[in-house]
């Protein structure tokens, strides 16, 4: 196994595209190293992308943000202006393991590892984040919800990698939140997760919303029906109940050591409702 740490995106793509045998991108490594240790991955080449400046930067851009895919979770959490703009995304990032793990882990890795339970992904989907992708054929963009196809599978072509995430400009009176359920308070994998991002009009009526669920299907889901339950309402109890029902209805979970199907369906609705309340509070508190 060879290790390379290219300093430019072009070099990274050339290495990935030109690899003899299997090549793997190494960002934070918090998933990759575990796969190496358990022989679930045995690449011939590791391409460490942390020396590429574009992938390590957080840039405020036209009212929105561009977050490099290799920015660590702790760097993002410590960026106070970003946390004010996208508290729900930071909620998700905070759940990615311990402080130690977050010192290495990245949103790019969290997405491309393609676990259905990745904590930052529902929040990014709800935020309407777009992944900027580069590869041998050049650059392209894709909504975050289109990157993961199923457990361990992405829509990235050979040689492609996610460079950064673009989060749009925030409308006034907007708020987002992510909640997950785990048996322990920390150090756990989501049994279910729900992210809600909503915007209120001047009268406090929800004018737009996006709802995403994690760990309840083969990949994180964007659930328009759940969002529709909020739009046009003041996010009252009745709307929240419809949101919860729509969220539960969208689940296609499995039974495993982390939870049963029935449990995930039920809890996804509960979490969506609770996340929406937090998002609402945040939207109201925001000019």
């Amino acid at each position: 196994m060879r290790y390379e740490a290219p300093k430019t995106l072009e070099q990274a793509i050339a290495l990935l595209a030109g690899a003899n045998g299997q090549a793997k991108v190494l960002a934070g490594g918090t998933d990759v190293l575990i796969q190496l240790r358990s022989n679930r991955a045995a690449p011939d080449l590791l391409v460490d992308i942390k020396a590429i400046p574009e992938m390590k930067s957080i840039v405020a851009d036209a009212g929105g943000y561009r977050v490099g895919a290799a920015v660590t979770c702790m760097e993002l959490i410590e960026n106070e202006t970003f946390a004010r703009a996208w508290p729900g995304v930071v909620d998700g990032v905070k759940y990615i393991g311990s402080v130690q793990v977050k010192g290495r882990a990245t949103m790019g890795g969290n997405l491309c590892n393609a676990s259905p339970a990745a904590d930052s992904v529902p929040a990014l989907i709800a935020a309407g984040a777009v992944a900027q992708i580069a590869g041998p054929q050049g650059r392209r963009e894709a909504p975050v919800e289109d990157v993961v196809l199923g457990p361990g599978r992405t829509s990235l072509a050979p040689g492609e990698l996610v460079v950064s995430f673009v989060l749009p400009r925030r409308a006034p009176h907007s708020g987002d939140a992510y909640l997950r359920f785990t048996p322990r308070t920390e150090m756990d994998i989501a049994v279910a997760g729900a992210a809600v991002n909503l915007t209120l009009d001047g009268k406090g009526v929800c004018s737009s919303a996006r709802v995403s669920l994690g760990a309840v299907a083969a990949r994180a889901l964007l659930v328009p029906a759940a969002a529709a339950a909020l739009v046009g309402t003041k996010v009252d109890e009745a709307a929240l109940a419809r949101l919860a029902a729509a969220a539960s209805a969208a689940c296609k979970p499995i039974d495993d050591k982390r939870g049963t199907k029935e449990y995930r369906i039920k809890v996804a609705g509960v979490l969506a409702r609770r996340a929406a309340k937090i998002a609402l509070e945040r939207a109201r508190g925001q000019g």
Binding site: M1, R2, Y3, A5, L26, G28, G29, T30, L33, I34, L36, R37, L46, D48, K50, T72, M74, G97, S98, V99, Q100, V101, G103, R104, T185, E186, M187
Partner: protein, 158 residues
């Protein structure tokens, strides 16, 4: 098997070692540099016994490749005391009986120091959540939390 040459800084000392690409920083510290104070409890980032700082950032040494350590500044438990003078956290851990078997202690001390460097006056809850990545099976965490809070008090001069 060809090995990689790595040149880095550990506890302020310039060191060099050879490692296989798949070897972790933890393995390099323990097996190549014989710095065995950093412990392996799980090898998967779930117990925190291998906590070290890399360029000031708290990480699990088992979740970082040794080759990634090139030109970094690494701090381990062996560098925590200044000569014979124990760090206030080290003193408070002994004073509060915050350690029993001691296998998690180096990792917890490194993690607690990283907390206090960012937040000199943490609440009980902040200490508990910050240390959630460090498993201890002996103490129930009670005396660990007390020791960290007391060390923070002393370091603030309060």
């Amino acid at each position: 098997m060809s090995r990689n040459h790595v040149s880095t800084t550990v506890n302020g000392d310039r060191v060099e070692f050879l490692c296989e690409t798949g070897q972790t920083l933890l393995e390099a510290l323990r097996d190549e540099l014989r710095l065995t104070g950093t412990k392996e409890g799980c090898g998967t980032g779930d117990c925190g016994a291998c906590s070290v700082t890399v360029d000031g950032r708290l990480v699990c040494a088992c979740l970082m490749l040794a080759v990634e350590a090139e030109d970094k500044a690494i701090q381990t438990i062996e560098g925590m005391a200044a000569g014979e003078a124990l760090h206030p956290l080290q003193k408070k851990f002994i004073e509060h009986a915050a350690l029993q078997c001691g296998i998690c202690t180096p990792g917890i001390l490194i993690a607690a120091r990283a907390l206090l460097e960012r937040n000199p006056d943490p609440s009980e809850s902040e200490v508990r959540y910050w240390l959630a990545g460090n498993l201890c099976r002996c103490t129930g965490y009670h005396k660990i939390v007390d020791a960290v809070l007391d060390a923070a008090r002393e370091m603030r001069g309060a």
